[in-house]
Symmetry: C2
Subunit: 338 residues, 2 copies
């Protein structure tokens, strides 16, 4: 049995999360039972939703239990199998958590999925061809449902969700405008991801200033918006929202530490006859096959070339996660485990 | 030609509207051209949307022009006709404005509609079987789309929209909880309109207190809400909103005077995967026949017995309108003109 390294949640954050909330522990991997599979993780995915799980408060998910392995998406390779559906060497994606190995019931629905790495690098199954990509797809296709010629926007545009959103929206004939933090990210969003424009929110002290920049970048107004952040970005977008515009709400990262995050002018919902809808992609498994097919094809053909930020090992995961919450990552944040 | 009395918008409000913004003037009614109809108004409808029209600011409608007759729905009787579709004595509903007579092009689509007063009193075509009733119908049926057994709420429950909403929701097997101002209105909402419960928002100083009362009145949480008011009512409802709940936004009356009216916790949209949608019923004319048929039947059978507040004459319209904005009316606010 190989020795496993595990990061557990050791304490809940009071306000901002810190590295001291996590603890690295060591344990043996247990012997496999019938039907089980031992997976060695190659990459761990770090995602903003994990911050919400660290709190012991009402949310859409149960809190992360203290003293147990942190939840997280993983890609890896089957190294032992007591299940005829999985062979040693199979590449798989699952929810293995912040650790080197996981033991998985190969018969549990959705627990482990074999993936093909012929045209798609394994790590992308945690990003563009995984949960973040499907998240972008659901918000754009199912909530915003844009028509060709419409203008759509997205906050955190350089991230895993934003980059997929941009490619999906361009494929539908939209004008796509990103919002991101810093000149480097904005240059990447325009020059490498192919957005029509990108606004650096750090250059704007308040929502009014940001709204002016949006007016320049979106001369026909905004028909659809994908919200990963909330706060002044959402306020600014609502100032430029067209009649019958749609906002898909996927993240409110600025509010995860508990500070109040009001929406300044909800009357705009009525004035512009807007639709604002929150969603969690894991509650819409029915769209995953269609979304993954389109996203995988975009990666295979090079229509989407997302960047990755890769932390070098498991011990570096907490700092990488805290950096993600502050926007320090550039593209999909991963942890390399092998 | 009869002499007409007309109330025009004389000046735009700075902050709160006042009676001095209006002016009563006298004019002759013009001779009819071919195709035109002269209508003598029996009742004028007063509605919150008129306050928005008094401002010269971006909204979903063009501002009310200064010096011209105030916009408004009317019911009345044809007294002269140069149009073969309308006979003297026909009862009609239209947008005649704040005046005794209007000259209408009988061929303009939607300008004038004949109504049957055999089972429905004429005035109700301005309320339950008119724009307010269809407004309730659209928000409930097309946005909230409740299932039997769900709990739905409405602010301004004793008003024209709220009363129709309650009857429509009860007919669909919902638990219906109203929010209204004062014990008299709440008693009326429960005892006469048949709501399951009603909360007096005046008894609650803030959204948290109101949310506690909602928890008692809605033990299964809130699945759908119809918002006529905004502000603390909306904040409180969002604290009790269930997963996948829907909010139809029809009014933000508390914000019409220009004061900021933030939504305290938009993160609830994500946490509860809510849908919040604004609408204007005049943009959905396709539903009117179906909605009016159901609403007319509810009036004819006595399933809905809405109250009316009736101002005695045209000169009393401005004060009645200002009272409506402060919730002084009890049920549908009308002005009797004959």
């Amino acid at each position: 049995m190989p020795t496993n390294q595990i990061i557990v949640l050791d304490s809940r954050p009071q306000g901002e999360a810190s590295a001291s909330n996590f603890k690295l522990v060591t344990a043996d991997t247990p012997a496999l039972q019938a039907g089980q599979v031992l997976v060695r993780h190659h990459f761990l995915s770090l995602d903003p939703y994990m911050r919400g799980r660290m709190n012991d408060s009402k949310s859409y998910a149960v809190p992360q239990p203290l003293g147990q392995v942190m939840i997280g998406g993983t890609v890896g390779e089957v190294v032992e199998s007591q299940n005829s559906k999985f062979q040693v060497g199979d590449k798989v994606v699952g929810m293995g958590g912040w650790q080197h190995y996981s033991v998985v019931d190969g018969d549990a629905v959705g627990a482990l999925r074999k993936v093909d790495t012929t045209h798609v690098p394994l790590s992308h199954y945690l990003g563009a061809v995984g949960m973040p990509g499907v998240t972008a797809w659901y918000g754009l296709v199912k909530i915003i449902n844009p028509q060709a010629g419409e203008t759509v926007t997205v906050s955190a545009a350089s991230g895993a969700v934003g980059s997929a959103y941009g490619a999906l929206a361009k494929a539908r004939g939209c004008r796509v405008v990103g919002i991101a933090g810093g000149k480097d990210k904005c240059d990447y969003v325009v020059n490498e991801l192919g957005f029509d424009a990108c606004i650096d929110y750090k250059e704007h002290a308040d929502a009014f200033s940001l709204a002016k920049a949006l007016k320049v970048a979106c001369p026909q107004g905004i028909d659809g918006h994908f919200e990963n952040v909330g706060g002044k970005v959402l306020d600014a977008v609502m100032m430029r929202a067209n009649a019958f515009s749609r906002i898909a709400v996927c993240g409110m990262i600025a509010g995860y530490n508990g500070e109040p995050l009001p929406m300044s002018n909800p009357a705009a919902i009525l004035i512009n006859r807007m639709k604002i809808e929150g969603f969690i992609v894991s509650e819409h498994m029915e769209v995953w096959p269609q979304a993954l097919a389109e996203l995988g094809n975009m990666i295979a053909t090079g229509a989407l070339r997302p960047r990755e930020s890769v932390a070098p090992n498991l011990a570096a995961a907490p700092e990488a996660f805290l950096g993600l919450l502050k926007g320090k990552n550039f593209g999909k944040q991963l942890v390399k485990l092998i």
